[in-house]
């Protein structure tokens, strides 16, 4: 599928495995990311979902949006449950109790459920080498409880637990580099994606399903409510995150880095920070500090792709 073709959307399957009627906020790019992942994986998939926005909005009892088997688990063990289901399936196939149908096992969680609370279960799952995919929907804070900071929150962002004031300009630490942590496990496939680039995202999910080992996909999912944006700008700001270099789109296949959406001439980070309410308080000095960091990170990534 040519990702640049305007008409590429018409080639995508019309089947929705994540049914409409979910209760996400207007313009939720995270729900869009879930929809695209579900489209890419098809019917033959088992999903284990950690607590978070995507659990709240898709399965308020007695409703469910999922048209595939779906398990809700606690915040910390989405990866453990996904790999447990995978292990049970492989054992039953080995004993001849189930036919081998190439079922895909998907663990999913938000940035809190992945990089804060679920990290040790996820690390263990990567280390044991299960054939499963873990997708992190990163909206850069704990959005379902009302925008609290997580380790995925970027430097300078104002949240309810890292408020901007006279002494501090929002979040004081830098965003945890979760894809690099996953890549350091030496797993076959790691990628970053963004719902503003749907074909790139779906291609990466399809690749992850065929990786033959643990695969990790980190999806930047814009949250208009938490980021202080009008709902229609959700896709637009995701594109800016990539064009400014704040969130580079790349994949690591068997240890080889490749930038999938190249940005030859990067825009200044101010273009990305300015429209967002959570960065409204930033002074030019702090923006400059963020720019320096983004450029340095980008250079580091470039150096890795050259290897």
């Amino acid at each position: 599928m040519e990702s640049l073709n305007v008409y590429a959307s018409r080639l995508v399957t019309k089947r929705e495995h994540f049914a409409p009627g979910h209760r996400a906020c207007q313009g939720c790019a995270e729900a869009l990311a879930v929809r695209l992942v579900a489209k890419a994986l098809g019917q033959n998939v088992v999903v284990a979902s950690a607590t978070g926005c995507m659990e709240i909005i898709s399965t308020p009892f007695p409703f469910t949006n999922w048209r595939v088997p779906w398990i809700h688990v606690a915040f910390e063990n989405a990866a453990a449950v996904a790999t447990g289901a995978e292990g049970a399936y492989r054992a039953l196939v080995r004993k001849g109790a189930l036919p081998e149908k190439g079922t895909v096992f998907l663990g999913m969680g938000g940035d809190g459920g992945t990089s804060d609370i679920g990290l040790q279960a996820l690390s263990g799952a990567f280390e044991r080498g299960h054939r499963f995919i873990y997708v992190c929907y990163d909206n850069e804070a704990y959005m379902n409880t009302g925008v609290q900071r997580s380790s995925g929150t970027p430097f300078g962002a104002s949240t309810t637990t890292s408020p901007a004031g006279k002494l501090k300009a929002g979040q004081v630490t830098w965003k945890k580099n979760m894809p690099e942590i996953a890549a350091a496990h030496g797993i076959p496939y790691v990628a970053t994606a963004c719902s503003s680039y749907p074909f790139d995202l779906m291609k990466k999910v399809e690749k992850a399903a065929k990786a033959g080992g643990p695969a990790y996909i980190h999806i930047l999912s814009v949250c208009p409510t938490g980021w202080g944006l009008p709902s229609e700008k959700a896709i637009w700001i995701g594109r800016l995150a990539v064009e400014t270099g704040v969130f580079p789109l790349y994949e690591v296949e068997q240890g080889r880095y490749r930038i999938t959406v190249d940005v030859p001439a990067q825009r200044p980070v101010g273009d990305y920070l300015k429209p967002q309410g959570r960065f409204r308080h930033l002074t030019p000095e702090i923006v400059e500090q963020i720019q320096t960091r983004v450029t340095a990170e980008w250079e580091k990534l470039r150096a890795k792709t050259a290897l």
Binding site: Y7, A19, P20, Q26, P62, N65, E232, A234, I235
Partner: protein, 101 residues
């Protein structure tokens, strides 16, 4: 979707399956989210090139293709976020205020 889902008030303990599982996959499609909307997308068919960008970017899977090949919003689900109007390549989608009924 086989049976309509009972509301929380009507739901008794006899209706609940073991382990509170929900066996009717995708039954949330019965849930109307269209009444959240304050603006509604309207397509200008003279400029629409039927590319489907509105379809791929809709977070609520509310954009469908009709028999003529044009895309249109399913107003049962459309929350009126305006992403389709913002992303449309030919800018043929306009958000129109929902009038009081």
């Amino acid at each position: 979707m086989k049976k309509p889902v009972k509301s929380e008030e009507e739901l008794g303990w006899k209706d609940i399956e073991v382990g509170c599982t929900v066996s009717d996959a995708g039954n949330a499609a019965q849930y109307r989210t269209g009444d959240w909307r304050s603006t509604r997308p309207v397509w200008d068919h003279t400029r629409c090139v039927k590319c489907g960008v509105c379809y791929i970017f809709c977070p609520d899977s509310a954009v469908r293709k009709n028999e003529e090949g044009y895309f249109e919003a399913d107003l049962f689900y459309c929350k009126g976020c305006g992403i389709c109007a913002q992303e449309c390549i030919t800018a043929c989608i306009k958000m129109v205020e929902e009038a009081e009924e």
